[in-house]
């Protein structure tokens, strides 16, 4: 309950680009761990790095975080999607053409019960979603440099007025 409360009131999705940090000669590990701490075990982090950060995947894997890695375009850069131990697997909509991802998110969002949340992986930043989403719902997004976006839609718990 404590974790749920925290992710609903604060950000549970984050992006971190380690490339400029590494280019500045600084080890980004501390920044990454601080971010992980901030978003909590129900959160997700999109990390961009100039190589596949296998030691980090192992370190976070020991703490229960799952990692999904993909390469950015033709280059050497990688995007690693770290999902916290309490984070649901995202519903992958990246293979759908517009406006199908929007329609699927709206369908799923309409069915959310009080206190429920759903996580989606979208092919791009959902620019039109806020205009159609029930204002009672909370939307959070985190976008990777290639546009692929994690979007979390949550219906707050029904609180007595």
């Amino acid at each position: 309950m404590e974790e749920r409360e925290r992710t609903e009131t604060g950000a549970s999705l984050a992006t971190l680009d380690a490339r400029p940090i590494l280019a500045g000669g600084v080890d980004p590990l501390e920044t990454i761990l601080r971010t992980i701490e901030r978003i909590g075990i129900g959160g997700a982090l999109l990390l961009t790095a100039p190589f596949r950060p296998e030691p980090l995947e192992e370190l976070l894997g020991e703490r229960g975080w799952r990692a999904t890695v993909r390469r950015l375009g033709d280059g050497k850069d990688h995007v690693v999607e770290f999902l916290g131990p309490a984070c649901p697997d995202p519903i992958d909509l990246t293979m759908l053409e517009a406006p199908e991802p929007l329609a699927r998110v709206l369908e799923r969002a309409a069915a959310l019960a009080d206190g429920d949340a759903a996580l989606f992986r979208l092919p791009r930043c959902p620019a039109l979603l806020p205009a159609r989403l029930d204002p009672a719902l909370r939307l959070e997004t985190a976008a990777a440099p290639d546009g692929v976006t994690l979007a979390r839609v949550a219906r707050p718990p029904d609180r007595p007025r």
Binding site: A103, P123, A127, R132, D134, A136
Partner: protein, 446 residues
């Protein structure tokens, strides 16, 4: 969650883009009527009044109408550039339609030719000026910074340049402004219109639409920026060459200098861009061939032919070269792109404005359900057959072929009009619409 500067809720009402989209096929039908009645006489000489009318029904009536409507729609959504007051878009439309009508009346002899041409271009230039003021202010104020925004700004700047050069030529045509040899002016005008205005906007739209609707990987930023830079150089270059010839009247080969100065833009818009986009489409995440994609693919192949035809037109004295270039640009590369874009954007806009807020409350048709592939393929077949007939008519100067091409234009216009109207007629059942108090405001059903 909002991308800084972007607010889709500030997009225009559905009626704004559709007023333009529905008028464009009428201009195509008028061009078809002109060819049907005039035959090959309409496509013999670039400077003939009927040819001038045909060209402007294509550039401003068909392409301009669609592109104006698309920019009024796109600017707030992709660039956060809110056009205010958006009602003035209807004034742009009215001026443009009236200008084209006046030009038509002048060329067909209903009113004296010079008066018709003068009034026609006044209307067209007035429409473009008002459009540029409205969208230019919005685009200048937007905080959004990306290559699509830069491409749209390049397109608007090029349109302004094309209008200035076109206005000067129109004043020369009616005897007010002595320009001397209009060849260099025409080349600079065409470079700004074809490469900067049309090419800039096609680039900006493609970078948004192809990843969004076809899951094509986006072009890398350095490639987009190279295209933009070369296009700017190739649009500004001819104007600089034109100015140089004005200050050095004895300079030989002004037409060549002006045409050659446009080469960087031609290389970018008709070379690099289609090559890179074709590769991007080949690397799509999903292999399904959508009917609208046929338009894009054909347009990109045609684009690769254009530098050759443009070189022929620039350096040869054969009038067929310039007319063939105009046909392949207006009805080929740009026209196919416009119809491909309409085939995706028309159902998408209707779905978004009328159906998307009902999701989760009642069954909602898909975008594909609003416009199946059949009608889109019919438009593609008619468009492509007309293009072949028109190009053949220009090359052979065959009267029958020219009239067949005219019939093809009219048929394509009817098919496009039907395609848009069928989609536009789709509305939610009144009871479903009434059940929703306001978009996204009613509680979700359990």
């Amino acid at each position: 969650m909002r991308t800084p500067g972007l607010d889709p809720a500030q997009g225009p009402p559905l009626a704004v883009p559709f007023t333009f989209f529905l008028t464009a096929p009428l201009a195509v039908a008028a061009a078809g009527g002109l060819l049907l009645t005039g035959g090959s006489a309409v496509i013999l000489a670039p400077a003939a009044p009927a040819t001038l009318l045909l060209a402007h029904l294509g550039t401003m009536g068909f392409l301009g109408m669609t592109m104006f409507g698309a920019i009024f729609q796109m600017a707030p959504v992709v660039a956060g550039a809110v056009v205010r007051p958006v009602r003035l878009a209807y004034a742009v439309h009215a001026l443009l339609a009236a200008g084209l009508a006046a030009l038509g009346l002048g060329v067909t002899g209903v009113v004296p030719l010079l008066r018709g041409v003068h009034l026609g271009f006044l209307g067209i230039e007035g429409a473009a000026l008002l459009f540029l003021i409205l969208t230019g202010i919005a685009m200048a104020r937007t905080p959004a910074r990306n290559d699509t925004v830069t491409g749209m700004r390049l397109a608007l700047g090029s349109l302004a340049l094309a209008m200035l050069l076109g206005g000067a030529m129109e004043l020369a045509y009616v005897g007010i402004l002595p320009l001397g040899d209009k060849g260099p002016w025409l080349r600079a005008h065409l470079a700004a219109a074809f490469l900067g205005w049309i090419g800039g906007l096609i680039g900006a739209v493609a970078w948004q639409v192809l990843p969004m609707f076809y899951l094509a990987p986006p072009l890398p930023a350095h490639r987009r920026q190279a295209i933009l830079l070369l296009t700017v150089v190739g649009v500004a270059g001819p104007v600089a060459a034109l100015a140089a010839t004005a200050t050095s009247p004895g300079l030989l080969g002004a037409r060549w200098h002006v045409a050659a100065a446009a080469a960087p833009a031609a290389f970018a818009v008709w070379g690099l861009h289609p090559l890179w986009l074709r590769r991007s489409l080949a690397e799509r995440k999903r292999a399904r061939v959508d009917a609208s994609l046929l338009f894009w693919r054909t347009a990109l192949v045609l684009a690769l032919l254009l530098p050759v035809v443009a070189a022929w037109a620039a350096f040869a004295s054969d009038p067929r070269a310039a007319i063939l270039l105009a046909v392949l640009v207006i009805w080929g590369w740009a026209g196919l792109t416009v119809h491909g874009m309409l085939a995706r954007i028309v159902p998408f806009l209707v779905w978004f404005h009328r159906f998307s807020f009902l999701i989760g409350r009642t069954p909602v048709p898909s975008v594909r359900g609003l416009l199946p592939d059949g009608p889109v393929r019919a438009v593609y077949a008619a468009h492509l057959a007309t293009l072949v007939a028109l190009a053949a008519a220009v090359l052979t100067r065959h009267d029958g072929l020219a009239r067949i091409a005219g019939g093809g234009l009219a048929l394509t216009a009817i098919l496009v009009l039907r395609m848009i109207l069928v989609v536009l007629a789709r509305r939610p059942a009144p009871a479903e619409e009434a059940a929703v108090v306001s978009p996204a405001a009613a509680p979700a059903s359990p």
